[in-house]
């Protein structure tokens, strides 16, 4: 199956290459990426990083990778209450509605032609040779973009990531390199959605460069993926004093993998990763984090909460890697899950590698059931069992939302979460 898809991809690459006017370094990069992909193939469960996540269901289809001709913006009901996206990435192709002041958007081609500084080319923070999905994205991403935040943004910037499988199965591959200027702050919301009657796979690669003292909040809002497949790789490098917070709200998608690779490269940098996962049906959600403490006096925190219902699977692999010399490191990590059915599965793998001696590092992974005492307490006050259960699930899983940067965003996220639990939020507001 995977072999057929690879062959299909190779044929499409040759066709695209002939039609393309691209030349130079980017084309070479694409060729090398394709070679790497063809050589390595897609990972299987024999691969340690994919041990509990079989890609087989997602690799059954012959995805179209060519950029669609349509110029129309989709009219999707994305997250209710959130203004329409300012930037769309439709099958990886940008459509700009309006950019906030202080934000610049460039195609990577333009940067390459202009002989821009090398660090602004994509591929800085990810492993093209060693990671099949990064290679896939690098080979095909229709429009690698560079987004630069030069001034602090007063409002969150909303980016709609939509893969449209109307006529055939489609692979949508957004590619974005973001640079957050020194001392500025911004909130970026990546809103993932699937459209169309055919299967889709979104394979997004985001690279974030946080200059000294930059502060960035990122929401990966995976609410509109329906039964689609999605692999997201977010790689960030934080310079000294920079702060990054990432919330992954994983409420939809048949098979979702989120790779968050964070490098704390400058002293005093701080990264916080939060995850809320609701998995029901046969959904599989796999969170993979790698927190690299490269510099001293950095701190990191990871808090993931998950619900696994019915026949769903939630996987969490969290690696904290403290490099030699990264003294005075504070690193915390916790994944807590409720396993709500005998057929649901939770796999949690905290991995610590510490090569410095002045380090405070803790991790915790807990899998449990609903607290029966709490359930009885609620029922004993007249709250029906079904409702009491939902209230407890909601209360358990919402904790990572508490730190969201604004009340408005928190309320939106809570509302979305409540909808997925089918909890009438009005009664609980």
């Amino acid at each position: 199956m995977a072999a057929e898809l690879l062959e299909h991809l190779r044929e499409q690459f040759l066709r695209l290459e002939q039609a393309s006017s691209q030349s130079g370094e980017l084309l070479q990069q694409r060729r090398r990426a394709l070679e790497a992909l063809l050589q390595r193939g897609f990972p299987t469960t024999r691969h340690e990083d994919w041990k509990y996540t079989s890609l087989a269901p997602a690799l059954r289809y012959k995805y179209e990778v060519a950029a669609p001709a349509s110029e129309e913006l989709p009219s999707l009901s994305m997250v209710q209450g959130l203004p329409q996206p300012q930037l769309w990435l439709l099958d990886g192709v940008p459509r700009v509605r309006e950019l906030p002041a202080g934000v610049e958007l460039c195609t990577a081609e333009r940067f390459a032609l202009n002989g821009a500084r090398r660090e602004l080319l994509p591929g800085q923070l990810v492993d093209v040779e060693g990671d099949a999905f990064v290679a896939l994205n690098t080979a095909f991403a229709p429009a690698p973009l560079t987004l630069t935040v030069r001034e602090s943004l007063a409002m969150p910037m909303h980016i709609g990531i939509v893969t449209q499988a109307d006529a055939a199965p489609r692979l949508g591959q957004p590619r974005l390199l973001m640079s957050i200027a020194s001392g500025t702050s911004a909130t970026l919301i990546f809103n993932f959605a699937h459209a169309g009657a055919n299967p889709s796979m979104t394979n997004a690669v985001f690279e974030l460069l946080l200059q000294p003292n930059a502060a960035l909040d990122v929401l990966l809002w995976q609410d509109g993926l329906a039964e689609a497949f999605a692999v997201t790789t977010l790689a960030a490098r934080l310079e000294s004093g920079a702060r990054l917070r990432v919330w992954t709200l994983s409420f939809s998608g048949a098979l979702v993998r989120n790779n968050l690779y964070i490098r704390l490269a400058g002293s005093g940098a701080d990264a916080q990763l939060y995850g809320v996962t609701m998995a029901a049906g046969q959904r599989l959600v796999d969170h993979h984090t790698r927190m690299e403490h490269e510099a001293e006096s950095c701190s990191s925190n990871q808090l993931y909460k998950s619900l696994a219902q019915e026949r769903a699977t939630v996987n969490f692999t969290g690696r904290i890697y403290v490099h030699p010399g990264a003294q005075r490191t504070n690193a915390y990590q916790a994944h807590r899950a409720l396993l709500l059915s005998t057929q649901a599965t939770v796999n949690a793998r905290p991995q610590l590698e510490i090569y410095a001696d002045d380090v405070r590092c803790t991790h915790g992974a807990a899998v449990g059931n609903l607290d029966e005492q709490a359930l009885f307490y609620l029922r004993s006050r007249g709250i029906p069992e079904v409702q009491a259960r939902k209230l407890l699930l909601y209360a358990f899983v919402r904790e990572p939302l508490e730190a969201l940067p604004s009340d408005a965003l928190r309320e939106l996220a809570e509302r979305s979460l409540a909808e997925h639990i089918q909890l009438p939020i009005e009664e609980f507001a």
């Binding site: 607290d371 005492q373 709490a374 009885f376 307490y377 609620l378 029922r379 004993s380 006050r381 007249g382 709250i383 029906p384 069992e385 409702q387 009491a388 209230l391 407890l392 909601y394 209360a395 358990f396 919402r398 904790e399 009664e427 609980f428 507001a429």
Partner: protein
């Protein structure tokens, strides 16, 4: 009028061990009954069974609440019918605010009584008035259910819920345990405020101290899973003076209980 609560020959086991061994009790509207007894006598088991805890197995006997078969009702149905248990150990529920919890509960109970639900603003003024009666901190409603509460705060919270939900029968399970005298007085004042001809109380306690403030109409002594004595207020004083050992020395003596008279 029949008894609001009628217990007949109730036998209850947990994990195969019989704890209640034939309890009979009638509680009429307007009455306050105290149930006293040494540790392990079955007091809390009685409270738990009445509230509907599923881990207890009823071996024999009947319980009628306002003429309905209580033992067939779900815990939430019991609450909506007007039964309330003040927990000995109120449960902490992180992530659920007191306001959310109590407004949801109150509106369920109101629905069962044929009353309109309260919106958040109506609820707030209704709740604040009652918080005032118990001298509670203003941030109480914003806190997570019982989370990080001191023992006294938890017990006061239970009485607050009693004031809020206005049940027909309130069972107080060791509400006095762990309270200092000031907290005890506050708790008792809340209960006394709620005494009415339509409402009954079953006050479960190890010590008679609470009964100085909540004066009972009837005092029962539960011993080894049975009610071995029933009397007036003075029985509680006698227990305080003599302890429970004199009951033990009387061995298996079973005195006629109210239900069998």
């Amino acid at each position: 009028m029949g008894a609001l609560l009628q217990i007949r020959n109730l036998h209850v086991a947990i994990e195969g061990k019989e704890i209640l061994r034939g309890v009979s009790l009638d509680v009429y509207a307007g009455e306050v009954h105290a149930i006293m007894g040494p540790n392990g006598s079955g007091k809390s088991t009685l409270a738990a069974v009445l509230a509907g805890r599923e881990e207890y197995e009823v071996l024999e006997g009947t319980v009628l609440f306002d003429g309905q078969n209580l033992l067939e009702m779900e815990p939430e149905e019991r609450a909506r019918a007007g039964l309330f248990l003040a927990f000995q150990y109120p449960v902490e529920i992180p992530g659920v605010s007191m306001a959310t919890f109590l407004r949801t509960a109150l509106n369920e109970v109101r629905k069962a009584r044929g009353q309109e639900p309260l919106d958040p603003i109506q609820f707030l003024s209704y709740a604040r008035e009652r918080m005032g009666w118990l001298g509670m901190e203003p941030d109480f409603l914003q806190r997570a259910v019982n989370e990080g509460f001191s023992g006294g705060e938890k017990k006061r919270g239970e009485i607050f819920q009693l004031l809020l939900l206005e049940p027909r029968l309130a069972i107080l399970d060791e509400t006095d345990s762990g309270l200092d005298i000031d907290a005890l007085k506050i708790v008792a004042s809340g209960v006394n405020r709620m005494r009415s001809p339509e409402r009954a109380f079953v006050v479960i306690t190890h010590y008679q101290r609470l009964l100085n403030y909540i004066v009972p109409d009837v005092v029962h002594v539960l011993f080894d899973g049975r009610i071995v004595r029933t009397g007036g207020r003075e029985l509680a004083l006698e227990l305080e003076e003599r302890g429970y050992d004199w009951l033990r020395s009387e061995g298996e003596l079973v005195l006629p209980t109210l239900g069998e008279q």
